[in-house]
């Protein structure tokens, strides 16, 4: 778990280390049980060059079903080394303290909806719970960059809801949403690309010590 | 097996050996006692009997070995402590004699013969005669150890085996660290000694060098002031020993 190794003392913002010139983003992947969080992370591991992946629970023999995670090294951008920590959290777990901490620290939210019609309520409940968890350390609601990914869009049409229906049901305002076939990887990298961009945009103008 | 190493009751060979010794039949007494020692190797009384027979024969070195063997079986055996005191007295080492008698007195506080002997030894010793210091003697009650808790030389004194000396060394190093830290953090400067007093023993722990310390162990009857004076000389002796090593 990379969090405590290179975090700034500030809460609720990305970890920016002025001395080492590093930026670390914490992104949470949230989805109902079976929506495809683990598959999504597995696909990222396959699609992103190995040298850009750092330790994650994939290194363990079996991914933790309650908390799967992954660190992606985005490389040097201008003179900043940027990394992204992705945490996939089960909607229900006995690790409330861990989850609370992750939601406190989250810079961006990746909401993954199972496109199957019969999972609509599960998705809704999960997203609602995520928003409830997304509070700052004083308990106020936080607004963080969010992208939506509709998984299982490769299933037969009679089983799934169309992207515009899902958008109508779940997406408030103009947040980006992507259709995805998690196994083949369609839409996954696009979603991450959008989320990282939105999150970094939120950081700008960011800060560093004067003088 | 306990019934092979130590008899339930005082066996008849002890009476026989003692009677033969008292009648002056020392060779016969010794063969009986040695047969008994073979049968019961960890029975303190049989080694004590051998010690007395050998002392009667004038074999002080043999007697000393037998009484040390007795103390290995029973660390506070008064007969062996008295015997060792007797041997020390005979070689006019009154300091050693006093030390063994002090240990015997601690083991048998109501034995007036020991207290009488102790008075006599003390009166024989010149008031300012220094007690002999032998850093390497395992029964001298001087244990030199390094700051990692490893024994460098000496032992805990009569009746305490090497294993126990090693255990004491291991704990003493930690105690020295705490003593040093407590004195320093309380603004008391460098520590000089830690004196530990209990019902059965007085123990002093002193720094000898940055890497070494000395544990000095004496019976509770040993006067504290004299113990510390001796400890101070022992530290010097230990420094010399370390220099020579």
């Amino acid at each position: 778990m990379p969090r405590c190794e290179h975090s700034s003392g500030e809460a609720d913002v990305a970890r920016i280390d002025q001395e080492k010139r590093t930026i670390g983003l914490t992104l949470l992947v949230v989805g109902a049980r079976g929506a495809g969080k683990t598959t999504l992370l597995r696909t990222l591991r396959q699609r992103i060059p190995a040298e850009r992946l750092r330790a994650g629970s994939a290194g363990e023999s079996e991914p933790d079903p309650l908390l799967d995670w992954l660190t992606v090294d985005l490389g040097r951008i201008q003179d900043w080394q940027v990394t992204v920590d992705l945490y996939a959290i089960a909607p229900v777990s006995n690790r409330d303290s861990t989850r609370r901490l992750l939601f406190n620290d989250a810079d961006g939210l990746w909401l993954l909806a199972d496109s199957q019609g019969n999972r609509f309520d599960d998705n809704a409940a999960t997203f609602r719970a995520a928003r409830e968890h997304l509070v700052d350390r004083e308990g106020s609601q936080r607004d963080v960059p969010t992208v939506y990914t509709w998984s299982k869009q490769d299933l037969p049409g009679e089983l799934i809801l169309a992207p515009d229906v899902l958008r109508e049901g779940f997406v408030p305002g103009g947040a980006p949403a992507f259709e995805a076939d998690l196994v083949r990887g369609t839409g996954v990298l696009e979603s991450l690309h959008a989320l990282v961009t939105l999150t970094m945009r939120r950081l700008a103008p960011s800060r560093e010590p004067a003088g | 097996m306990s019934d092979h190493s130590s008899p339930q009751q005082s066996p008849s060979f002890l009476d026989l050996g003692e009677r033969l010794r008292q009648r002056g039949q020392l060779e016969a007494a010794l063969s009986v006692a040695q047969a008994g020692a073979t049968r019961y190797p960890t029975f303190a009384a049989v080694h004590d009997l051998i010690g007395r027979i050998l002392a009667d024969q004038g074999d002080d070195e043999g007697a000393r070995s037998a009484w040390l063997a007795t103390l290995e079986c029973d660390a506070t055996h008064p007969g062996a402590l008295k015997g060792l005191a007797f041997l020390a007295f005979r070689r006019r080492d009154f300091g050693d004699a006093e030390r063994y008698l002090e240990a015997a007195a601690a083991a048998s506080p109501r034995d007036t013969s020991i207290l009488t002997a102790l008075d006599r030894v003390r009166s024989m010793r010149p008031a300012n005669a220094p007690e002999a210091i032998n850093i390497e003697d395992p029964v001298a009650g001087l244990l030199l150890l390094d700051n990692q808790g490893l024994r460098l030389a000496g032992g805990l004194g009569s009746g305490q085996d090497e294993q126990m000396a090693d255990a004491a060394a291991a704990t003493a190093a930690g105690a020295a660290r705490e003593a040093e830290r407590a004195a320093r953090l309380l603004g008391l400067g460098a520590w000089q000694h830690l004196m530990i007093e209990g019902d059965s023993m007085r123990t002093a722990l002193l720094p000898v060098a940055p890497q070494a310390m000395l544990l000095l162990r004496r019976p509770p009857t040993a006067p504290v002031g004299r113990l510390l004076a001796f400890a101070s000389r022992a530290v010097q002796a230990a420094r010399t020993w370390l220099g020579n090593s």
Partner: protein, 117 residues
Amino acid sequence: MNPERWQRLLDDATAISGVRGAIVVSAEDGLVVHEAAVEGLETSDVAALASVVVRRAESIATASGDSQVRLCTLTAENGTVIAAQGEHGLWLVAVTEPDVELGRLRLMLGVLAPALG
């Protein structure tokens, strides 16, 4: 538990010339139970450090096959810490100047400490 009696004991101990302060310490947790000290003595530090020294002294005694430790005296260049065992894990601890009447203090603490319980 008798704080009034402890206070009397501590007053007796600190009445000896050269005694900077005296405290009742719980050796198990290294905390001050009662104190009578003069200025400049951090009694909580004394309790913490003295209790650790006492515990280490007890370890030496145990490893050497000796019985309970009754009195533990740490002598340093600029003073002495002396701890006497009372009942129920309580120790009477005094901190002194270097020129204290140590012989008298030893005897007094040895007599006073058993009354701690």
